[in-house]
Structure formats: structure tokens, C-alpha cells
Symmetry: C5
Subunit: 354 residues, 5 copies
């Protein structure tokens, strides 16, 4: 959490529109791929500079510029000129810690999404920013690092399969967002399994480590919440069809993604409720075990203290203790002790302590 703040504070005091990459990943070289399709005609091309897009933009059809790796500021800056983007848009593309949002600039819509990734098991889930710029006949997608997330869409276009080929740029933007939300389901499946495993562990053998896992899961959910909740508003705004860039037919599909997002949010909230229920289980089991321990102590003490006392009495050195001289004194006392111990045991058995 403090890491996010640290990154942002690096930019404090700079004028708005200053292009500085705030992410961690500087290893991914910026790679720009252009995909132009109109019905059955598809062109795929790796390009070096934004200017190369101009030709395709002037051709009828939809143009998808896919940018992977956003830390090479000098490669991104030209997009501002070619696509006539507001300086704040490019700034936001580089500020990779933003929450999902939608900004309608009239000529184009700028959309921020967050992609979830399972990192190595110890670190849980990490999020990466995906920026989309949806124009009249183009979509630009900015990814922080190499990712397979948009591959199915790309293949559907290349194979000129499905309705996507005959639809506009808005449908392409929908298809990309659909991929991001679909990906949430598999991330959440994994998360749900981890929660259920922890739950079983907590019930079978509660231990402090599990409390720490519980806490870690809680923090993960907190950060997922920030990635998923605002998406709801983004999709709700898109689906209401206030922008002329979104056709009515595409609105129906966006409603579908919206429904999926609600389902993801529902699951998230259910997970939170489950975790807080698990805390109660853990605390009550701690209490329970203390009770068990104390019962053992109390039973042992209550049985042996009176016996030890009796032994102590007949260990006294008074000259005049008639019992000591009795023939059956010793066995009688042993029997008495056995009787007391038996009585105590019956008493505790009745109290259900043993």
C-alpha cells in the first residue's frame, strides 16, 4: 500500500501532463502491434512509431493498436499527436496505479481497467493496469507487460471468426473488457479454493500461522476490491449508452459484462463475510482450548491436593497420634484416599469435564 503512495509522491510538484512512468516493470520493451480489419480483410503489422497508424486510420474498418510495455515514454508520446489525445490521457496511461475509471473526451473514451495476475504463491494476487482508448474507428490498448489476456480476441479476428469482424470499434472494446472480466473468474476460483482450504485448517487445527494467513487473505481482498468495485460504475456508464461512440446493439453486450462484474463483486463480498466468520471460529476455538487446558489442570489439582494433604497429616511428627499405631491405619488411609479420588472422578464425570 505504501508502495503505491511512494510512487505517486515521486511526481509531486510537477505540472499536469508530465509524462513519467510510475510502474515497477521496466524490463518489458515497448512493442506496438497494429491490427486492421474490415469484414474478411485483416492486416497485422508490428510498428515502430505511432505515425505509421495514420494510413490505416484513413482506411475504412477498425484499427486496433496494441501497446505492450509502457515505460518507454518517448515511444508513447507520439500517440498524443496522431490520435489527438489530451495530455492527461497519456499521463494516466503511465500512472499505472490508478483505479478503474472512464473518461469521455467526446472524440474518444479513455478507460482504465485492472488485470489480476496470480503471482508466485507466496505473494498472492498482483494487479496491472490496462488502458483502453476507444475512438470512432480505432481502439488503443496499453498493457504494462506481456500478457496472453487478449490473445483469444486477436485469434478470433485473425481467423475472421464470429461477429467481431463485422462490428465496429465499440464491439472490439467490449470484447477486450470481456476478456479482462472473464479472467477475474479464474483468479477468483483460485482465491476461493485458498479460502476454503484455510477454513478447513482453521476448524481442524487452529494455529497462529493460520491467523496470519487469514490476515494476508483479508489484505488481498482489500486490494482486489479497489480493482473491481469501480469497474462496476465504468461499465454501468458505458452500458447506459450516453456516448455516441457506443452503438445500441453493443450496449446489450456491455450489459452482459456488467452482470459478470456484479457477480464478481458479489463473490468478493461473500469472501469477505466468510473470512470474518473464520476469525470468529478461530477466536472461539482458542477460547475453547483454554477451557480444555484449564479443566485438565483443575481436575488434576482437585484430585491430588486433598490426597497430598492427608499424606501430609500422617507425616506429622506428633508423639501422640493414635492412628499411626493402629494395625489397619495405613490400609485404611490408602482406602480413604482411593475413595476421595474416585469421588472426585465421579463428580467431574458428572460435570462432563472428563
Amino acid at each position: 500500500m505504501s508502495r503505491v503512495m511512494k510512487k505517486r509522491s515521486r511526481k509531486a510538484g510537477m505540472p499536469p501532463g508530465t509524462l513519467i512512468y510510475l510502474g515497477d516493470d521496466k524490463s518489458t520493451a515497448t512493442r506496438i502491434t497494429l491490427l486492421h480489419y474490415a469484414g474478411q480483410q485483416v492486416v497485422e503489422k508490428e510498428i515502430q512509431t505511432a505515425e505509421e497508424c495514420q494510413v490505416f486510420l484513413d482506411t475504412p474498418g477498425v484499427c486496433w493498436i496494441s501497446v505492450t510495455g509502457v515505460h518507454e515514454v518517448e515511444k508513447l508520446a507520439p500517440f498524443g499527436k496522431v490520435f489527438n489525445l489530451h495530455p492527461l490521457v497519456l499521463e494516466d496511461v503511465l500512472n499505472t496505479d490508478q483505479r478503474p475509471k472512464l473518461e469521455d473526451y467526446g472524440e474518444y473514451i479513455y478507460i482504465v481497467l485492472r488485470q489480476l495476475k496470480n503471482s508466485s504463491p507466496s505473494n498472492g494476487i498482483v494487479t496491472e493496469q490496462i488502458s483502453l482508448v476507444l475512438g470512432r474507428n480505432f481502439v488503443i490498448s496499453f498493457l504494462e507487460s506481456e500478457s496472453e489476456i487478449f490473445k483469444p480476441v486477436k485469434e478470433r479476428i485473425l481467423q475472421t471468426r464470429g461477429r467481431i469482424c463485422n462490428q465496429g470499434a465499440d464491439y472490439l472494446a467490449y470484447a477486450l473488457m470481456d476478456m479482462v472480466v472473464d479472467n477475474y473468474f479464474s483468479i477468483f476460483e483460485n482465491l476461493g479454493e485458498r479460502i476454503e482450504e484455510l477454513e478447513e485448517l482453521l476448524i481442524s487445527k487452529p494455529a497462529p500461522e493460520q491467523m496470519r494467513n487469514l490476515h494476508a487473505l483479508k489484505r488481498e481482498l482489500l486490494s482486489l476490491r479497489k480493482s473491481v468495485w469501480p469497474l462496476r460504475e465504468v461499465l454501468s456508464a458505458l452500458q447506459r449508452g450516453e456516448s455516441t461512440l457506443i452503438q445500441k446493439e453493443t450496449g446489450l453486450y456491455l450489459r452482459d459484462v456488467y452482470d459478470h462484474t456484479i457477480q464478481v463483486i458479489d463473490t468478493l463480498e461473500t469472501y469477505r463475510d466468510m473470512l470474518s466468520g473464520m476469525l470468529d471460529i478461530y477466536l472461539s476455538s482458542l477460547s475453547n482450548r483454554l477451557n480444555q487446558v484449564m479443566k485438565v489442570l483443575t481436575v488434576v489439582s482437585t484430585i491430588f491436593m486433598p490426597l497430598t494433604f492427608i499424606a501430609g497429616v500422617y507425616g506429622m511428627n506428633f508423639h501422640n497420634m493414635p492412628e499411626l499405631g493402629w494395625r489397619w491405619g495405613y490400609p485404611t488411609v490408602l482406602l480413604l484416599m482411593a475413595a476421595i479420588a474416585a469421588g472426585m472422578l465421579i463428580f467431574f464425570r458428572r460435570k462432563k469435564w472428563i
Copy 2:
């Protein structure tokens, strides 16, 4: 929970409108029954393909197509053509893990409901998806598995009894939704009894197993909530009569179902409050019992420790211990011990510990 996510993630990456059944139940063979009625004339017919409906649709009256078992995708696909349904509608019919929702496509309304079923006692309550498509003169109902839930409506139609025979398709849709909500009452009755039983157990003999039952009930309520809460919005939207498919008179009846749903939701929230109150009872009773155990230990220790000490003193082997030679030394010490024990008992009695 993670199961739901798992099913959904099976579809990740596929284009929208892909028909894949996501439910568990593949044993129910798809069975399609058609019921056509107009006043006193009723026709019931088992049909094989969606195309057979066309004739009845062109006849005046209401046509109810009841589909049971939705996993045979090839049988469902033709409905799309015959009734001119959007691909997303059929996709949603097959995605059987959706929350209740309402989608108005103009020509028809698509409604998702969830039916509650008491499974074998150990597993609690399960939910199944019911999809309704309400058109101008037809209703299509999709059930996941064989169910008696719509039987009363069917019988009322077959016996040409009640107002249903003279009403339109909207009234039929209302009658079906009414059955689903009515069914909630009996499920909730059963749930309420389980909660009350648990409450009595928790008060009479609190034990860790009951804590686990409590937790299980909480999770059940969490999942019921997701089935029932969204229904409220669905019915509220229907009742406001924004669609031309709903007549004003039917709106009054829908308001009635809406009221019942509110009552179910109220009960659900009350159950939740009761369960969280029961957790407090359980935790406080654990605390209480620890207090009881500790009091026993303290009373026993406090009585016998001083006595054992005195016995220890007169068990010392000093040559010069005048008390040991006294004639009444032993009885005096015994009396002293008895007095100390009695004093302690009185002290604890005053403190209300025993």
C-alpha cells in the same frame, strides 16, 4: 463458492453467445411441454423441437413452453430462431449460476429467478436457476431439473379454473414467479426451525460442534441472500410497468409478489441478526465456563494449600519442637485445620463463588 467460479472460468476466452451448459446436472433429459390455452380451450402437448411451437404461436391465446433440463444444447439452440431470441439470452439460460435479473429486449423480457431446494439435511439448501422468457403471447420457462414447483399453475390451467385462463401471458409469468416466491416461505420455515433448534442447544449446552453449525448456517444465509436480494429489484422493475408487455391489472398482482419478497428478505436479515446474537451467546458462555472452572481450581487450592503447609510444618524433623510433645497437640492442629477450611468456605460462600 469456488465451484461457481470454476464453472464460469471454463468459458473464459470464448466469444459471447457461445452456448455451453455450466451446471452440474447432466442427468435430466431435456423435456419440452407445450400448453396452449384460450379461455376454456386447453391443449397440452409434449414436443420434440422448438419449431413445433410455431403453429400455436399463430393461434390466439397464450402459449406456455416448459423446458426441463437445459444441458442438451442442441435442443435449446432452435428456440433462438423460432422465438427470435438474442444469442445472449440462450447463453444466460445455460449459465446456471446467475443472480436473479431482468432484461428487457423490447419484444420480450428475459427473467432469471433462483429456486431453493432442501437437499439432503447434511448439505442444507441448494439453488437452481429458473429462466423465464415473456413475450406478447407466450412464456418459455427453463428449469434445470424435474421439479413440482409449477405444478399448481399447470393444474389450474388444465382445469380451466381461476382467472388465469382469461388473462394474458404476463399473468402466466406472474403466476410462475408467485410459485417460486411462495416456495421460499416453506424453505425459510425449515431454516428458521433449524436456527431455533441451534439456539436452544447453544444456550443449554454450548459446544464447538454448534459453533461449526452456526458457521454453516451463516454461509447458507450468505448464499440465500445472493438468490433473494436481487429478486427485489427484478420485481420492482416489473411492477413499475415500464414494459408494454405487462398490463396494468397484472401490475397489482406483481406488487403482491414484491411484498412477499420483501417479507422473505426481512426474514433473511432477521435470521442473520439472530445468528450473530447467537455467536455472542456462545462466546460469553465459553467465558463463563472458564470462570466456573477457575473458581473450582481456586477454591480447592486456597483451602488445601494452607492446610498442607501446616501439615508440612509439623512434619519437620527439628529436635526442638515443643508442640510435637504436647498431649493435645495433634487434635489442636486438626481443629485449627478444620477452622481454616471452614473460614475459607465461608469466605467463598460470601463471594458467591460456591
Copy 3:
């Protein structure tokens, strides 16, 4: 709670408008009283069938038909015809477990209220349904059982006292609702006293029984909430004067009842907060007492364990223990023991444990 659900589930599957009494009280014979007044002219009459009202309805003035005991379905059914009521209205009159609601049928308004009654102390507060039908020149009130609640209004009319005689049916409906809400104040007074008594008990001598009382009070508040909260919306809707049946002047009076309802709700919420604060007190006092018990145990153990050990040492039978032969050995050891005990006591006194 589960009782409510049980009653409702008895009706599951029946067509809407089916008249079945769902309440418990079948002992109260249905009694119908008619009160017709216009200025100083008042007529009171016990009637047998709804048809007898027709004459009075056609006479100028206000007609109040008061029905007590609603389980004799055959007596209530005729009201539907005479007053032209929707079948759902009569069904709702008989479903006596409904939450307060308002239904505007244009020609008349149907209002459901809930009356609170102190049952025998052990059972706490019970609620009964009161239904009002407000028409152009009539009010029908349905009570589940004999009740004095509307007596003051009746007397005001019979004595042609106050403004009520010169006002319309809407003012009569207001007066009846005012009585119901006024009655809440005395019920809540009693409840508040019980809460304060419990609070004093919890502070002076916390015990598990009081925890149970606390829980019982919580459940009572839960059920009261369901009776009172929705009333707020009912009165708010009435007061906004959307119906032509409510005159503007009466709206001012309804605003007054609305204010009273808000006050009742405020009190309810305060009671809830008080109860949850009392739970904290109880739990902290349990913790406190455990601390007390443990301190006693620790003090006793810490004093007597070293002493018993010393006595044990000089009880050993080594041949060569020079101290045993010393003349002042025994008194010295006794003094040592006394010193240790005193030291411990001072130590614990400083720690504020005793």
C-alpha cells in the same frame, strides 16, 4: 420467526386472491360495528352482513365500519362486493403477518399497520395486524382481536366532540393511525424500563441469565423493528398527499403522526445501541472477574508454595542436617516463613492485587 414462515407456507401453491385466514386467533367471533356521522348526527349500529352498509354509504357523512376478528372468512368476503375491493385486498386482510404497507387502488387506499401488545411478561411484546381501507366517504378497520385501541376515537365521535365530526373520512383514518402510533409510546415506555432494569442488573451482578434476557430483548427489538420501520414510508407517502383521497389540511396532521413515528424509530435504534453496549459491559465484566479469581489463586499459591517447600526441606530425613539440632532452629524457620509471607503480601499490595 419460523412460525410466520410456517403460516405463509400453508398457502403455497394456491391462486392469488384465495381467502384463508393465516392468524392464530380463531377464538374472536367476527363482530361488525357501523358508525355513521355527519356533523352532530351520529348513528351506531351492530351489523351482520356487509350489505347493510349500502344505505349509509349513500347518505352524506362519513361511515366507519369496524370489523373485529377476521377468521370468519364467509363474513368478510361480502365486503369485496359491497365496497368493490380488489381480491388481493381481502387476501391481505386475512394474511395477518404482513409488514406495514400502503396500496393506492385509486378509488380507495389500503393500509396495513401493526398494533403492539404487551403479552404476559414472559413472552414480551406481540404484534397484531390492523388493516384500514380508506374510501371517499368510508373507512373500514379490521382488527384481529378485541382491542380498546380505537375506543377514544369512537367516544369522540359519539360525543360529537372535537374537529373529527366535521371532517372527512381521511381525518378519521388519520385519527385511527394516530391511536396506533400513540399506543407505541406506552409499549416503548415499558420496554425502556425493562432495558434499564437489565442494565442495572448487568452492572451490579452480571450472570448468564441476564445474558439470556439481553438476547431475548434483542430479538424483541428485531421484531418490533419490522413492525415500525415500514410505517415510516407508509406515513411519508400518505403525507405527501399524492392521493386525492387525502385533503391538504389532513396532510398537516399526518405529518404530525409521521414525526411521532420517527421519534419511535429513533428510540428503537437507541435501545439497540444500548443493548449492544450492555453486551460489551457483560463481556468485560466476565473478563474482569476471571482476573479477580486468578489473582486470588496466584496470591495464595505464591505465598504457600515457598513455605510448603521450606517445611518440606526440614522434613527430609538426612542424618546429617545440622539445622535440625539447633536450639533455635524451629523458631528461626518459623520466622523465616513469616518474613517470606509478609514480603509476598507487601509485593502484592504494591501491585494492587490485594
Copy 4:
């Protein structure tokens, strides 16, 4: 709390508009003061009956009738006629347990505020009702008892100081409300100090009495909430300038009071959060101290139990115990005991228990 309900229930069943004083304070004789000002001309006059105001009402300028002590119903009733007030207004003036509210009767606005007073320290804060009636050219203020709260406003008028003299009745009403809210700040200052004192006590020496103080403060905040929260809505409604009685310029000043009220509410909520944080501190410190106590007990037991056991072994009376005859037997055993004790101490020191 139950007291409020008790008072209200005294009125149950009476017709609306019945004038009965429901407050506690019957000692304050009703005193009516009239203040009429127009620019630099000010008249102050003690009056006996409401009728005396008539002359001043017909003179240009603003008329402030200040009524102190509202239990003499016969003195208040005439105000209804002279100022043409609705019966419900006078009824509300006498029902001195109302929450702040605003009622716009067109010709005049009726405002209820609650004044806070520090009562003797043991009882905390009490509230009194202040009613304002704002007309075209007059303000009537009703106070339950003698109070200095409006003195500064009065003096400003008498000294014809400040803008108040040249403003209308709406500005006077604003000035009075401003005094009430300003007074909250000093009450809250005092409350804040009590909370901070308690916080320090809870951290330095937690004890059950402080838990009770905490609970008492919580209840005080609960009742303050009911006095302050609704004021927000009152001022928000006034400031929006929906009434023609409020001039636009005065609206700016009302916005200022509104801001102050928000600040008071913010502080109230912060206090609530602080109190609930203090409960956590108290409970955790109880737990902590139990840990301390148990550690002492465990350390003492763990050291002395083995030692006592060893002493017991050599106190056995077996004839054949070679160690007893050894020359260095006794010192060896003593050394062994010392070693065990030292070992234990080192062990506990390492565990940070001592």
C-alpha cells in the same frame, strides 16, 4: 430514555391539538418579553397576554416575542389566535421531547431546536427544547426555562449594534439559531475533555469503573446525536431558500450555521469512534493483565513444584535409602535444588516471562 416515552404516553388517546405540557420543569413561571425594533428604534416590554403584541405587529419593524417557561398552558393558548397558528404548532411547543424539525405552514415557519446544558457533573448533559416561530415580521421563541442563551442577540439589538437592526425577521431567526449552535461548541469542548481524561485513565490504570464511565459517555453521545443530527436537515432545508420568508442574503448566513452544525456532527462521530477504540483498549488491557497474573502463577508453580517434590522424596521413610546416610547428602540436595531453581529462572528469563 424510558422517561421520554413515559411522558408521551401520558397523552395517548387524546385528540390532536390538545395542549398538555409534557416537560419536567414546572417551576419556571411563564414570562413573555416583547422586543420591537426598526433601525435605531428599539422598544422592550414585558407583556402579560399575547393580545398586547397586536399593536407592534401592525407597526413596521421586527417583533421578537420571547416566551420563557411553557408549562402555563393558559398563557400560551392565546398565541394561537393572535398569530393565527395551527393547533399542532402549540401542541408541539408543549411536547418538549421532540427532535429538531422544520415545518413550513406558508404564512410562518415552525422550527424546533434542542439546547444542550451541562447539568451537575454526575448527570452529564441535558437537553431542552427551543421552539421558534418565524413569520413575515415577527419571531416567537419558546424556552423551557430561564437561559442566558439569547442574551448576546438581545444586547446587540438593544445597543442597535451590528447588521441585525436593519435586517428582517429571518435574520433574527438566524441569529437565534446561530446562538444555539455556537453553544454546542462549548458543550462539546467539555465533553471532549472528559473523553480524553477517561482515555488517559484507561491506558494508565484500567478498572471496571472506567468501563462504566465509558458506557455512560456512550449513552450521552447517543442522546446528543438525536439532538444534533436532525438539525442538519432543518438548516439544509432553510438554507435552500424554499420559503419566501427567507431572503437570499440571509441564506448565506444560514449556510454558515449549517457548516457549523456539520462540524459539530463530525466531532460527535469522532467521539463515538474514539469511545469504541477505548473499549478495545480496555478489553485488550484486561487480557494483558490476565496474562501477567498467569505468568506469575506459572513461574512460581514451575519453580517450587519440582523442589517440593525433591524434598518430599527425601522425606520418605524407607529404611533403605542410602543417600540419607551420606555425609554430603543434604548439601548436595540443596545444591541440586538451587540448580533447578536457577535453571528455571534462566528458562523464563529467556522466554521473556520475567
Copy 5:
């Protein structure tokens, strides 16, 4: 908290518009700096009285009057006349304990912000009020004390760098607000680090001091909340562009600051959730440690009590105890004791207690 209330209560009873400084800092001499710029022309001038601004206001371009130190009331009062400000505006500039707010006076907008400052580590974060008055061609900024916060903006203007030089007063106001919000990020970064440090400490070695730190952090967050939350509404209102003083283009930039504020609020809420999760960890670890302590006590007691009892039995002085005379009596008993101790150890090992 009570300090804020104390300051405010100093002003109770004074007429509105009274200028009294309510802050603590009276050491900062009031310093007024004027900055006038139009394109590439920039004038900077230290001025003594507000009247000196008049000349610049009449020149085309933007005029930024920066006031540092607001306790010299006599220097601030003239601003009221020169800029035609409402008396309440200057009063609010001096009341330095206000929450962020926006007041639109038509001719100018008055904005209150709160700047966060890291005070010396022991005291955590303090807040200072920043007031902005945005007019047609001027911005007045009031700071409580010397601060570097607006330096970057000043430098950008002096170096005629960036778009700011060619924009209006609204863009200047935006730039200043942007600086304030940017500053939050670095404050929150620091806070986040403190929270994470505490979290690690709580998990590794929980101690009461950390509980106190936790509580202190909670209180800091409470006070930050009051500084940051209302800012959201302020920026939302500004960005909606209801005022004619804000140009559409600047609205886009304001939306950007608004987004940053949302991000800060998100982080704040996450911090709160983290702190409450840390409390759970602390309490559960206390419980856990009690369990550990009690297990040690129970193991020790359970092993040594039976052994001591056996030693006590053979320490009894009965004349007729045959075992005492046996040749292998003593070793047998020692072996028995060892067997019991070993048995106990195995038992506890199996129970996972040791």
C-alpha cells in the same frame, strides 16, 4: 479534538462576521506577495496593504495574491473591501479549524482546503487550513504559516514555463489545489510505512505499547478523514462546472485532481481496514499466549502433583507400612515415579501441548 471545540467556543455569542483568529500559530508575521502574469510577462512584488493590488486587478492577466500568516486581523480586513468579499468569507479565513468546503458567491468562489504536515514523529500528522478565493482574474491564497507547498507553481510562473502562463485564474486555482492533493501522497506514503512497521511488530512481538500505537494511528486516521473526505465533494462540485468562473478545459484538469482525491480516500479506508485487522491479530495473539502459559502450568502441575503425592504417602509415619521395610522399596518407588512422569510426558506430547 477538544482543542478544536475550545477554540470555537471562544467566539460563542459574537455577531457573524466578527474577525477573530482562532488558530494556534501567532508567530508567523503576515506576509503578502503579489504575482501578476500575462503570457510571458511576470511581475512579483511584496505588498503591505490590500489596496496595492487594485492597479494589477485592472491590468489584463492573472493576479495571484499569496497571504502567509493569518493572525494579523488588521492586515486581512482590507481585503474585504478591495475584493468585495462577504464578511463571512474573511471570518472563515480566520477560523482555521474548518473542514474543506466550497462556497460560490457568484462573483467569486471561496474554497477551504486542509494541508497535511508531518510534525515531529511523536505527534504524528498535523493539518493547516488553506483558503483560496477564486475571482474572474485573481486568486487569493491564505496560508496559516510559511510553507513550501506552492513553490513549484510559483516557479513555473516565474520561469513562464508550462501551460499555466497562458491560462486564466481558474487554472491557477486548479494548480494550487493539485499541489495540496499531491502533497497528500507523500504524507500517506509515510503513514503507510508506519502502519506496516507496526503490523510487523504486532505479529513478531505483540505488546501493550503497540496497542497504544495502534490506537494513536487510528485517531490520526480519524482526523485525516475529516480533512480529506469533504474535499471530494468540493472537487466534484468544481469539476461539474456549475460556476461560470471555471472554464470547460480546466474542468478536465479538475477531474484529474478529483481522481487523485478518490485514490487518497481509498488508501485511507484501506488503512482503516488494515488497522482493525491488526487489532484482531493482537487480541488473538494475546489469547494464544495465555494458552501457552496455561499449558506450561498444567504440564508442570500434572507431572509433579502425583509424584509429590506418592512421596507424601511414603513420608507418613504409620508404624505398620510394610513397603518401607522392603529392600527394593525405595528404588521401586523411584522407578514408579519415573514411569508416571514419562507417561505424562508422552500423553502431553500426543496432545501436542509440548
